[in-house]
């Protein structure tokens, strides 16, 4: 499968283009297919990248309109409510990554896996920025014997254009299911109404109004850390960088509390910032998952199963590469 091209559906969108670029930079020979509804646009994006070709993808067709073209893996950057791309990947026996489902929406993808568990790796990649917050949290969690509280506060700059697909996702997710999953004193709970409102501190200390949101981070972090209290809030507004006259950036502020192996109380507060916004960060997660799934990283390709991003990406490797593409991960003054 390493020689068959990776298909990026919605590859001419902003996150898709970043994914293609990051994959290309790290894997000069890996062939890529930039898939879009509009062949012209996909072809233009592909022309900017070596070893890449644009293809028209038809999510209304079982073969996606690709005929018998060989494909090594599929990543899709938009919501596919027929699961056409996932079923295509399963029929072909190649990995599939989706990043656009809210926590409440994963049923159909899980169902596709349950009915064909040995067909292919199915990645539920819809964590905040494709794993960024979860991976950073797991990196920090290593300093704890027991984590009791995890708070993830994300700042999405209103000028950080996620592209139409991301806008549609956020609108759908917040309109359809206003309640957001959280974990409180060990119990899973859906925050709703006033409970779903929050005020967060941006990287520069500014208080910003935020709302509860539930990508898969809560479920994933509960499964790995068993922390009894986990919440995620998002503020859409002006990022710290722009407030002081710089370009918009994306921010994720992560606070962990718990106990050290020595038994003392401990707290860690760190922030991920990327001055080019959410797209390169999201793309990094998708690119690293694709490298792991296909074996582009030099290890054996991933076997069939259902996976979350943190099962495919090592947190330390992720943070190193985040730094290499212009992101930062730094300790913050405690805002208490």
């Amino acid at each position: 499968m390493r020689d068959a091209p990776i298909l990026l559906i919605g590859g001419s969108g902003i996150v898709g283009r970043w994914t293609a670029k990051l994959l290309r930079d790290a894997n000069p020979e890996a062939p890529l297919l930039i898939g879009g509804r509009d062949l012209g646009k996909a072809g233009q994006v592909a022309a900017e990248i070596s070893q890449a070709e644009g293809v028209a993808v038809d999510l209304g067709a079982d073969d996606l309109g690709l005929g018998d073209r060989s494909i090594g893996a599929v990543a899709i950057f938009l919501k596919d409510d027929r699961l056409a791309a996932l079923r295509f990947a399963q029929v072909r026996g190649v990995p599939h990554i989706g990043i656009s489902s809210g926590t409440f929406e994963i049923g159909p993808e899980v169902s596709a896996f349950i009915h064909h568990p040995r067909a292919a790796p199915v990645v539920l990649g819809s964590e905040w920025l494709a794993g960024a917050a979860v991976l950073a949290t797991l990196h920090l969690a290593r300093k704890f014997a027991r984590v009791t509280d995890i708070v993830i506060d994300a700042v999405l700059d209103e000028e950080d254009i996620g592209g139409p697909a991301a806008d549609i996702d956020m609108h759908r997710l917040t309109q359809l299911a206003p309640a957001a999953l959280t974990r409180r004193e060990g119990n899973f709970h859906w925050r709703n109404g006033d409970e779903a409102k929050a005020v967060i501190r941006a990287v520069d200390g500014e208080a910003m109004e935020a709302f509860a949101y539930s990508p898969l981070d809560i479920a994933a972090l509960a499964a790995v850390t068993h922390a009894p209290n986990i919440q995620l809030n998002v503020s859409v507004g002006m990022s710290s960088n722009r407030r002081r006259g710089g370009p918009m950036s994306t921010e994720i502020i992560i606070t962990l509390s718990g106990k050290t192996p020595e038994g003392g109380p401990h707290r860690e507060r760190h922030a991920i910032v990327h001055p080019q916004g959410q797209a390169p960060v999201t793309a990094l997660g998708v690119a690293m998952m694709l490298e792991r799934l296909t074996g582009l990283d030099g290890k054996p390709a991933t076997t069939a199963g259902v996976y979350f991003p943190e099962q495919l990406i090592d947190p330390d490797a992720y943070l190193r590469r985040l730094a290499a593409i212009g992101g930062s991960f730094t300790r913050m003054e405690d805002a208490r």
């Binding site: 409440f104 009915h115 359809l176 119990n187 859906w190």
Partner: protein, 332 residues
């Protein structure tokens, strides 16, 4: 029977009791441990059941306070908001049946399973332990291709949902998105205007609401149906046993017959013992399969729906033993 006890948590509740009674009826030698808050009730029930014992349980402890005791599987007949009983099952590599999760709230269990895939986890948030879905799957064999499946449960006003299930539905209504259904090949959250009555025999209809349980997720793949939905309504049903109300599930399938005609056929499944018993029987069939009590090897570790555990034709053949009646009804 040379097997460790089944740990039935919430075993003295309405559903827990029915599960225990049907497990006992079908497997006289299977040891059962009834875990419940009220130890007096639990001991009394275990005594009546026979080959059973009672235990207290501490949901604040990872070992549930059951240190050193051995079990063969875990069935929580209550809503475990922290999924601590699944973690307990994972710690001991025991099969587990998750009964309360609607389609929108499976993520925490799926994440737990993905990270530790070495147990069998049955996601049984289907209506009535998945029995209606399995019967629909069996009836689908009469078709060359299936286009649409509609499941409709008719609750007699005198046979309401048990308190636990009632609470589940309240939670789903409050926190959840609209009910999930497959509509003409697309996964959709049904808006209020998409509600439709349950069609019974003889052209009669019952006002109904769609329910976002996991049945559509289980049925679309094995049948190839382009539309699958689940509705629930309330109306007097056929009388049950001993003057008690019964429970009725309508199954409507539209598809192409083996001779090429497109037809709509409708069946009615009735349980003279009411809706709780109906659901318990579904759970019992899944428990049997997971443990291998049906004579086949125990289920391997993995993530399951009822459709990937049970054989549809076998379930249909088993209905008389479960005291369930299946009959085709006239459309008009």
């Amino acid at each position: 029977m040379n097997i460790d006890p089944v740990l039935l948590i919430g075993g003295t509740g309405a559903l827990g009791r029915k599960i225990a009674e049907w497990l006992r009826a079908r497997h006289p030698d299977l040891p059962i441990t009834i875990a419940a808050r009220d130890q007096v009730r639990a001991r009394e029930f275990a005594h009546v059941l026979g080959n059973a014992d009672a235990t207290a349980i501490d949901l604040d402890r990872a070992d549930l306070g059951l240190e050193g005791r051995r079990f063969s599987m875990v069935i929580p007949a209550f809503k475990d908001h922290g999924h601590v009983s699944y973690r307990f099952a994972q710690d001991r590599s025991l099969p587990y049946i998750a009964l309360s999760e609607a389609a929108f709230e499976i993520a925490p269990l799926v994440a737990m399973h993905a990270h530790r895939p070495d147990t069998a986890l049955a996601l049984l948030g289907h209506m009535h332990g998945g029995l209606p879905a399995m019967i629909a799957l069996s009836l689908a064999r009469y078709y060359a291709s299936v286009d649409a499946i509609v499941l409709g449960a008719v609750f007699d006003p005198a046979d309401p949902l048990p308190p636990g299930a009632e609470k589940d539905l309240e939670r789903i209504m409050k926190a959840g998105p609209p009910p999930l259904a497959l509509v003409d090949g697309h996964w959709r959250w049904l808006p209020p205007e998409a509600m439709q009555p349950i069609r019974r025999g003889g052209g009669k209809e019952v006002p109904a609401e769609a329910a976002g349980l996991t049945d559509p997720l289980g049925l679309w793949a094995p049948t190839g149906a382009r539309s699958v939905r689940l509705d629930m309504g309330s109306a007097p049903t056929a009388a049950g046993r001993d003057g008690n109300p019964g429970h009725e599930v309508m199954i409507e399938i539209i598809g192409q017959t083996l001779d090429g005609n497109v037809v709509t056929r409708r069946w009615m499944v009735t349980d003279p013992d009411g809706n709780v018993a109906f659901g318990a029987k579904g759970v019992v069939l899944v428990a049997e399969r997971l443990l291998g009590l049906d004579g086949k090897p125990a289920a391997r570790p993995g993530l399951y729906f009822v459709e990937t555990l049970l054989d549809a034709a076998w379930v249909q053949a088993e209905l008389p033993k479960l005291q369930l009646t299946l009959a085709e009804v006239a459309i008009l």
